[in-house]
């Protein structure tokens, strides 16, 4: 799970400047804003809940993060402050996919950085392994957002955290359902069991 936050700098173990993350050791990327920083943090849902519950930390939307990035670096955007999500790697491992499969993608979408392309690739592999097809994603995206699945892919490639989280949330729920013996599939805006027809999780 990834999230945008604004937080203060604190002294790390070696006296270095690192973002305050409620004393958790997480993966992050940041833009130095002086005493504070814009930070994209990655962790498990529990870890992210912990840091978001901290009064010193402010959660931001994609749009709010973009405004800060643009104010400091006009030629940069959301994709330029991003971090690989370890939860995606863990999810991949749990369905039998080696996370290093990210490295299958070495040529970035023209004019963009590679992280999002690699992450979108791994999310696609996990999704396929869970039985969620491209057609299902299309019907989901159409019913939920009036878009196609490929639009969500594009938004992930653009570094939009919200798109990343939409996909990862569905994958989380599909994995849970599969572990419980269901055969998950997207039916419109719902995740259902292909066998018993029951609605699975909240997406």
């Amino acid at each position: 799970m990834k999230v945008w936050i604004k937080t203060k700098f604190v002294a790390g173990e070696k006296g270095d400047r690192e973002p305050y993350l409620a004393r958790l050791k997480l993966s992050y990327s940041l833009i130095d804003l002086g005493d504070v920083c814009l930070c994209r943090v990655a962790g498990t849902p529990d870890q992210i809940s912990t840091i978001l519950a901290d009064a010193e930390i402010t959660q931001l939307t994609d749009e709010e993060a973009r405004k800060i990035i643009k104010s400091k670096h006009p030629n940069s955007d959301l994709e330029n402050v991003d971090v690989a999500d370890p939860e995606v790697d863990e999810m991949a491992k749990s369905v039998g996919i080696e996370p290093q499969a990210r490295a299958d993608i070495q040529v970035p979408t023209v004019g963009k950085q590679l992280l999002q392309d690699q992450e979108e690739h791994l999310l696609s592999l996990i999704s396929e392994r869970l039985g969620l097809t491209r057609d299902q994603w299309d019907t989901y995206a159409k019913e939920k957002f009036g878009k196609l699945g490929i639009d969500i892919d594009r938004e992930i490639r653009e570094g939009k955290n919200e798109a990343h989280e939409i996909v990862l949330n569905i994958i989380r729920e599909a994995k849970k359902a599969k572990d419980a013996g269901h055969v998950p599939m997207l039916e419109g805006a719902r995740l259902v069991c292909k066998n018993c027809g029951s609605v699975l999780g909240k997406i």
Binding site: F9, G12, E13, K14, G15, D16, R17, E18, K25, L26, S27, Y28, S29, L30, I31, D32, I69, K72, H73, N75, S76, E79, N80, V81, D82, V83, A84, P86, P99, Q100, R102, A103, Q106, Q113, L114, L115, Q118, E119
Partner: protein, 438 residues
């Protein structure tokens, strides 16, 4: 003129050849120039009684113009293999031969078939090809049509009679595939030194040279040997298989380096500066090379580094890094420092020496800020650490080919390259190999 198909001709050609064989070369040449047309001349020169020695002497005579000689050579009745034997003969000078090949009366097709024929030795071919009487454009036209073995073409380019300017002109302007040119440059018959002088020559553009260096028919090894020998290696630029700085430390040295021709390269690109001379003023005895990699010995010091002046601000910095142990709780490493003003002001990418992270950090006036911190599982295996930066200060950190994060920072705008230990003491050795900047 006599019809060479006539009975008269068939009956008398023997007499003509007989007379020419016994006449001085100038006299025979004068007869060929004035009494016979190209078809007849071709029959005379093709006749088995006409020796290659004599034919060469006749073609070499000033009494026979290059234009007339070219017409005779061009005629279908004088076969390419016979013409090749004549041109190969020592009695025909390269000057005259080149003038004949340069003449428009000899088609490029026929000229190429003669150049391709095994009866013309590579040495004599090179004499003619490199001769000033054969223009660059004409040489290129013939070269375009040649199908001679790559090894022979490489020998021609390598020959002292073919100057670098001409070889460069032909390389630049030929319609042959870049893959063929890359094969020629790769061939052992073309020395790295000669290939380098061709590569340096202004007749060969940067774009064409770069396309050859990028072609996989040219091995990285030979490509590096060529660039090592170039006087203007920056001409190779960057992109494709080309980079700015590369070091594999296979020569186990930091200074007075052995280049690729002496110790083979282990890198997968061709570099402008390969195995550079490192500034070791801050290396103490703690940074050394052994068994083909760089060792940063455990030390309490934290300004140990080797440095290279480069001022590269855009591109990719890549290395392989290995930790001596994973139980260390000390030391940042700060191993690969770039855009370095001094030991207290620079960016750095590294596997942390004290926790399970790969990081990209900056140090400004001695204060460290971690811009990207991505969790990894530390071990003592070799891992690739790579960082990229574009003109807008957008960085991306990779670990074993996987992007671990992106960050934007523009606080440092220029500086050099350094490898070592910039922060705190380390209680374990660290190792670096295969540095690439491109």
């Amino acid at each position: 003129m006599i019809d060479p198909k006539s009975d008269y001709w068939r009956k008398n050609i023997g007499d003509v050849v007989f007379q020419m064989m016994r006449a001085p070369a100038d006299e025979a040449a004068e007869r060929l120039q004035n009494q016979f047309d190209a078809v007849e001349g071709a029959h005379i020169m093709q006749d088995p009684e006409m020796t290659a020695d004599k034919a060469a002497s006749i073609f070499n005579s000033s009494k026979l113009t290059a234009a007339k000689a070219a017409s005779i050579i061009n005629d279908k009745n004088l076969l390419a293999e016979r013409a090749a034997s004549i041109f190969d003969n020592a009695n025909l000078s390269a000057d005259k031969a080149a003038s004949i090949f340069d003449n428009a009366n000899l088609s490029a097709d026929k000229a190429a078939s003669i150049f391709d024929n095994a009866n013309l030795s590579v040495a004599k071919l090179a004499d003619i090809f490199g001769n000033a009487n054969l223009s660059n454009d004409r040489a290129t036209s013939i070269f375009n049509l040649m199908t001679r073995a790559i090894a022979d073409l490489a020998s021609v380019f390598n020959d002292a009679d073919v100057d670098a300017a001409k070889a460069a002109y032909v390389t630049e302007n030929t319609t042959k595939d870049v893959a063929d040119l890359a094969s020629i440059f790769d061939n052992a018959n073309l020395s790295a030194d000669k290939a380098a002088s061709i590569a340096d020559n202004t007749n060969l553009t940067e774009a064409k040279l770069q396309s050859i260096l990028d072609n996989t028919n040219l091995s990285i090894q030979k490509g590096q040997e060529i660039v090592d020998a170039m006087s203007s290696p920056s001409k190779i630029g960057t992109g494709g298989r080309r980079g700015v700085i590369g070091d594999d430390w296979e020569d186990d040295k930091l200074t007075s380096r052995d280049k690729a021709a002496t110790v083979a390269t282990a890198l997968d690109k061709i570099f402008q500066k390969f195995r550079p001379e490192w500034d070791t003023a801050n290396a103490d005895t703690k940074i050394s090379v052994e068994s083909g990699y760089l060792k940063i010995a455990a030390s309490a010091d934290y300004d140990l580094y080797i440095k290279l002046t480069d001022n590269i601000t855009e591109g990719t910095w890549k290395m392989r890094q290995k930790l001596g142990a994973v139980n260390s709780t000390r030391g940042y490493n700060f191993t690969l420092a770039f855009m370095l003003k001094d030991k207290d002001n620079h960016y750095a990418a590294y596997i942390s020496g004290y926790d399970d992270y790969v990081r990209f950090s900056k140090q400004i006036a001695g204060t460290v800020t971690h811009l990207i911190a991505a969790s990894i599982s530390r071990d003592t295996d070799w891992h690739e650490v790579k960082i990229t930066r574009d003109a807008d200060g957008n960085f991306e950190l990779f670990y074993d080919g996987v992007s671990k994060g992106t960050a934007t920072d523009t606080e440092i705008t220029s500086g050099d390259l350094a490898i070592g230990q910039f922060q705190e003491d380390n209680d374990e050795d660290a190792y670096v190999d295969d540095l690439e900047v491109y």
